[in-house]
């Protein structure tokens, strides 16, 4: 997927992936049959906006309300990495 159409993609958590807060590590985590991904606050904020309706571009816009600077490339890289591990998928259109 190129950077251009990724901006228009609508990410969501993959089916069967659960996000939860781990009180031991004081971090949000993604739980998947064979994977645990430990997120920090930024990662949890991004995924909190991934509802399958917002586009990546809209997510970046929403994040600018909370962060001084939001490099769009970094958000895209984060979501692409999670998609490669089947934690995130991109809804059509």
């Amino acid at each position: 997927m190129t950077a251009v159409d990724l901006a228009a993609a609508r990410p969501r958590l993959a089916r069967h992936v659960r996000i939860s807060f781990d009180r031991t590590r004081q971090r949000h985590v993604l739980l998947h049959p064979e994977t645990v991904v430990v997120l920090n606050g930024t990662g949890a904020d991004i995924l909190g906006l991934c509802d399958g309706r917002r586009t990546v571009a809209e997510i970046v816009t929403a994040l600018t309300a909370r962060y001084d600077s939001v490099p769009e490339g970094e958000v895209q890289r984060f979501l692409t990495r999670l998609a490669a591990r089947r934690c995130v998928e991109f809804a059509d259109g």
């Binding site: 031991t24 991904v37 430990v38 997120l39 930024t42 990662g43 990495r81």
Partner: protein
């Protein structure tokens, strides 16, 4: 904005284990010759009671465990499995049932679903009944396929587990086709690891190089073809690797195992090592994880011999598998002989040579694990 992931692949700063392998029983209706359960199963018949498992799960969660793999033997032989799952689920653990699927009736499956079970992994031994039942040592294929259907109908993600070896690896294309037909979300094609019964049967199970090359080409093509609907995981046979596997992501680094009798181990095979036992019946899990000799013996890199000590890959593969080193050399603190840099590598090379001998007239016999238990239909 900070990097949005604290840790994905490396967990250097995290001291807590992520996963608990709860081996609820070593009883099993199957008799697979590749089974990795301990050969001396008699030591494990005094199984933890329901309330003991529930305490173990609670202590594991407090320790930082997030995933609970319910395995065995056949975990469905535990009549209290639904209660154990319910406790794990209530603690917030991601629960994964690793099963032969014998005993997974629809009503049992519905109760497990209601208790919060997240994921089911069903083993098959081949893609069709004759070969599968022969390898399993008992008629089971048909029930496995029915159970896989129930798993999908109830909305669980389905993983099919297939242990690959000399007698079924040539069927991998058919296995993948079956997995696709069943709507599997994941298929784990894992070459046999030689522990327990599989170690005893190694020479009959180790495939030839030609078999592996053919199977790996099939797997690569299937990954591409099925990319949008099925995750194809392929576990390489370490005997054919240049470097050892990063066993368990490092000794007592990410995972712990609790055996049916309450023994705590870094991995199931570690029961074979001459280390003092640690048990949840004696000590709290946290104390065992942080301080028991069985956990600290090979944690980190301080124990490493040459050539691992100075190797660039010491934090990549952690010296390989301690149990394999012990098995092959009698010393758990040696480099895994699978590594081509190991001074003991000839031990592995000889087994590989034998598996590739031109004239292999008599195939070595398979010794099935004997421990068979009837399961009600």
């Amino acid at each position: 904005m900070a990097d949005p992931v604290d840790s994905m692949d490396n967990v250097d700063n995290v001291d807590s284990p992520f996963g608990l392998l709860a081996e609820l029983t070593y009883r099993c209706p199957l008799a697979c010759a590749y089974c990795s359960n301990p050969v001396a199963m008699g030591e494990y018949t005094d199984e933890l009671a329901t309330h003991e498992w529930q305490r173990v799960l609670t202590e594991a969660r407090d320790l930082g465990v997030l995933q609970c793999h319910l395995s065995g033997g056949e975990p469905l032989l535990r009549r209290d499995l639904v209660d154990i799952v319910a406790t794990a689920h209530d603690l917030g653990l991601y629960t994964n049932l690793v099963t032969s699927a014998l005993g997974l009736s629809r009503s049992r499956a519905e109760r497990l679903r209601a208790a919060g079970l997240d994921h089911v992994q069903v083993s098959i031994q081949a893609d069709e009944p004759v070969a599968s039942d022969r390898i399993a040592g008992t008629p089971s294929f048909r029930r496995k396929i029915e159970a896989a259907g129930v798993v999908k109908e109830l909305g669980w993600p389905l993983t099919l587990n297939v242990v690959l070896h000399r007698q079924n690896i040539d069927r991998v294309a058919d296995v993948l086709a079956l997995a696709d037909d069943l709507g599997a979300d994941r298929v784990e094609l894992a070459n046999t690891q030689y522990y327990g019964w599989a170690w005893r049967n190694r020479d009959a199970l180790l495939p030839s190089r030609a078999q592996l090359v053919a199977a790996e080409a099939v797997v690569r093509a299937a990954r591409e073809r099925l990319r949008d609907r099925m995750d194809v995981i392929y576990v390489v046979p370490d005997y054919y690797s240049r470097y050892p596997k990063p066993c368990m992501g490092g000794w007592a680094a990410r995972q712990l195992t609790v055996a049916p009798n309450g023994d705590v181990l870094p991995c199931p095979a570690a029961q074979s090592l001459p280390l003092p036992r640690a048990s949840v019946r004696v000590d709290p899990l946290e104390r065992i994880w942080t301080g028991a000799p069985v956990m600290t013996a090979f944690r980190g890199t301080g124990w490493m011999p040459d050539p691992c000590r100075t190797c660039d890959r010491r934090e990549v593969d952690f010296g390989g598998c301690r149990c394999q080193a012990f098995q092959l050399t009698g010393d758990a603190a040696r480099t895994d002989p699978v590594c081509h840099l190991s001074p003991d590598h000839a031990l592995v090379a000889r087994a590989v040579d034998a598996a590739n001998a031109d004239a292999r007239v008599d195939e070595p016999p398979l010794v099935p694990r004997p421990h068979r238990v009837r399961v009600p239909d």
